[in-house]
């Protein structure tokens, strides 16, 4: 009986993803109930970072593209949320979030179509320009976007049936985690579907993929748009949780920070996005603590987290081209193959290094779904 049940779960991606979401949801309800309001706020931060990182990691790992413009898509989501949530429209939290996602999809489609024609550094440079260029619009139309100060968002109100004393931070954590779980559900099913397999085919060889009938450009544009919608949701949640949408909330630095989060989690791994989100939430606290205990100046303590993100990116590229999850995978594969791959990287044989770094999602999770 139990084995049969396990078999059903193994067979159906949908059921498996529902189970993951349910379990994670229950855990989050229990956790948010038992921790302080400050911790709940951190959980909310982590949840919106997770949305963005999950979208980015699927983009990089599954379809082999990269975007340095996720901060700009977050800005799209954040400003849309602020506009829909505020007085003339006055939508409540969840409809406004849906609007944020819709808006980022609308922007994501043309950007994704353009991006699907670009490769490597061209794509990186173009999305970087997008990250710098888009938030400048807020300065151009200050009456509509609130200029430098941005738009103020009302705190989300918990529904009455949760009781009058339900904490704001706990409700924020719930809202953000609900968004994160939707992202998990959608991305998990997508990457384990025919769409996900097409993406991996495109990633592993564009020419081979197009010869076998895949429309490479369309697949890449789709992956890009989906990652944009995740970033839009993350931005909407950011606006909801921090109660402001301003140009200063979406600087170029944010896009690079997100990149660091994805790299440390391992490109292409949804579980890795959790690691990455945790890093982005806790690192500034740790570095502030460290700076405090060594009584470093405020210049140093403000910039310490950023320095760490930079070091993370550099060191990851030097020693672990596929990130923490990739590192775990290397260890799992056994010492022998790990040594072989290291030797491959040491000599001037680019092929080994290339397969190392772009491998991600495929093996493990593919094996899980097709034993």
């Amino acid at each position: 009986m139990t084995s049969k049940l396990v078999g059903v779960f193994r067979g159906s991606t949908l059921l498996r993803s529902l189970a993951i979401v349910l379990v994670a949801g229950v855990v989050l309800i229990v956790v948010t109930d038992s921790v302080s309001s400050y911790r709940n706020l951190q959980i909310a931060y982590g949840a919106y970072y997770f949305c963005v990182l999950a979208g980015l990691t699927v983009l990089a790992g599954a379809s082999g593209q990269i975007s340095l413009g996720q901060g700009a898509f977050m800005a799209v989501g954040g400003y849309t949320f602020a506009k829909l949530n505020a007085s003339p429209v006055g939508w409540s939290v969840f409809p406004s979030l849906s609007g944020a996602v819709a808006a980022s999809i609308l922007i994501g489609i043309p950007v994704g179509v353009a991006a699907s024609r670009l490769r490597g550094p061209y794509l990186a440079g173009a999305t970087l320009a997008f990250a710098v260029g888009l938030p400048a619009l807020a300065d151009k139309f200050p009456a509509f976007f609130g200029g430098e100060n941005g738009l103020i968002v009302n705190p989300p109100i918990a529904p009455p049936w949760l009781g009058a004393n339900f904490q704001l931070e706990r409700w924020e954590a719930w809202v953000a985690c609900a968004g994160a779980l939707v992202v998990v559900f959608v991305l998990y099913n997508l990457t384990h579907s025919a769409v996900g397999r097409s993406w991996r085919a495109v990633r592993d060889g564009e020419i081979a993929a197009s010869l076998s009938g895949l429309r490479v450009g369309r697949q890449q544009a789709l992956a890009f748009t989906i990652s944009a919608s995740c970033a839009g949701l993350g931005g909407g949640l950011l606006a909801a949780v921090t109660q402001v949408a301003s140009p200063g909330a979406f600087p170029l630095q944010l896009s690079l920070t997100l990149l660091a989060g994805v790299v440390i989690g391992g490109l292409g791994s949804l579980a890795g996005a959790v690691w990455g989100a945790a890093l982005l939430v806790f690192l500034p606290n740790w570095t502030t603590d460290i700076a405090g205990s060594f009584s470093l100046s405020s210049n140093v303590s403000h910039n310490l987290p950023i320095a760490v993100y930079g070091l993370v990116l550099i060191v990851a590229m030097l020693v672990w081209p596929s990130g923490i999850q990739g590192g775990v995978r290397v260890i799992k594969r056994g010492a022998g193959s790990a040594i072989r791959s290291r030797r491959g990287r040491g000599s001037a044989e680019p092929a080994t290094a290339a397969s190392e770094a772009t491998e991600p999602i495929a093996d493990e999770e593919m094996n899980a779904s097709h034993p």
């Binding site: 990186a124 400048a136 020419i207 630095q253 660091a260 910039n303 990116l313 550099i314 030097l318």
Partner: protein
């Protein structure tokens, strides 16, 4: 009409700076097929160093020279320590590496010098020339900027076309394996290339600093615009980079003058997208893409 002339002249002098940044990016792309996204941060560091030298010695010339020298050293160190390990890795690794360097350098500058932008002295007067009864916005310092960039572009052309070091560097860039078979120490050529590029960027930093002020993030737009200029010029053609820089300088000057400066980064983005949609490898690209 005066406004148009002002904007045109301004476009030429800012275009010269974009050209210098684009040249720095092109020098590196040609030899290593890497876009150096850390360029903006590297020239920020060298400009801070120049600022410190100028403040303590009172000599602009000394500051300028020190900026160039520290650019050479910084470029060589970056290539040896950070870039060499990812040179043969997939392109994405080099992109992430240079972005990591950018992030680290910005943070380090913030730690040392703080995040509040400060002023930076100009070489010559910032008061516009007087023609008849009108005051132009073009200043003696702009003249200096344009002349310095022209001199550097010519010097680079002579180096590449007329010297054996340039011949070695070109061979190492075009066909690294064949170059090694001819006894060219390709690794050393790449280091020299990065050093030259960083010095070129350092020069751009000192030239642009009086107008954007000096802070850890002051040069981000310059990097983006320099990248757009380099792409406009085909990424691997130094003359293309210069043309791209000037063309972009003019275009953005008109946008800024007639539509407001807030739109400049967005306009650069639009130009970049249009160029890449027409020709995904840039307008003046002579050689075909080697990496598929």
């Amino acid at each position: 009409m005066t406004k148009f002339i002002d904007l045109t002249l301004n476009g030429i002098s800012t275009g010269a700076i974009y050209a210098a940044v684009a040249l720095a990016l092109v020098l590196i792309w040609r030899s290593t097929r890497i876009v150096n996204f850390a360029q903006g941060a590297m020239l920020m560091i060298t400009t801070f160093i120049a600022s410190a030298v100028i403040n303590s010695s009172g000599s602009y010339v000394l500051g300028f020279v020190v900026a160039l020298a520290s650019g050479l050293v910084l470029g060589a160190i970056v290539e040896r320590v950070a870039v060499r390990p990812v040179e043969n890795a997939p392109p994405l690794n080099a992109v992430i590496m240079t972005l990591g360097l950018y992030t680290l350098l910005v943070a380090v500058a913030g730690m040392i010098w703080g995040n509040t932008p400060r002023s930076f002295p100009a070489a010559f007067s910032l008061r516009g020339y007087r023609v008849g009864a009108t005051n132009l916005l073009f200043t003696p310092n702009d003249t200096f900027t344009v002349l310095v960039v022209i001199a550097v572009a010519v010097a680079l052309a002579v180096l590449f076309r007329g010297t054996s070091l340039g011949l070695r560097m070109r061979a190492a860039a075009f066909a690294p394996e064949v170059a090694r078979l001819l006894g060219v120490r390709v690794g050393r050529m790449l280091t020299v290339g990065w050093a030259l590029a960083a010095a070129c960027g350092a020069m751009a930093g000192v030239l642009v600093a009086p107008s954007v002020f000096l802070g850890p993030n002051s040069f981000d737009p310059i990097l983006i615009i320099g990248f757009v200029a380099a792409v406009l010029g085909g990424l691997d053609s130094p003359p293309g980079a210069v043309i791209g820089g000037v063309v972009l300088g003019l275009a953005l000057s008109y946008v800024s003058g007639y539509e407001g400066s807030a739109l400049v980064p967005l306009a650069a983005l639009v130009i970049l997208v249009i160029v890449l949609m027409i020709r995904p490898t840039g307008l003046f690209s002579a050689t075909k893409e080697r990496r598929v």
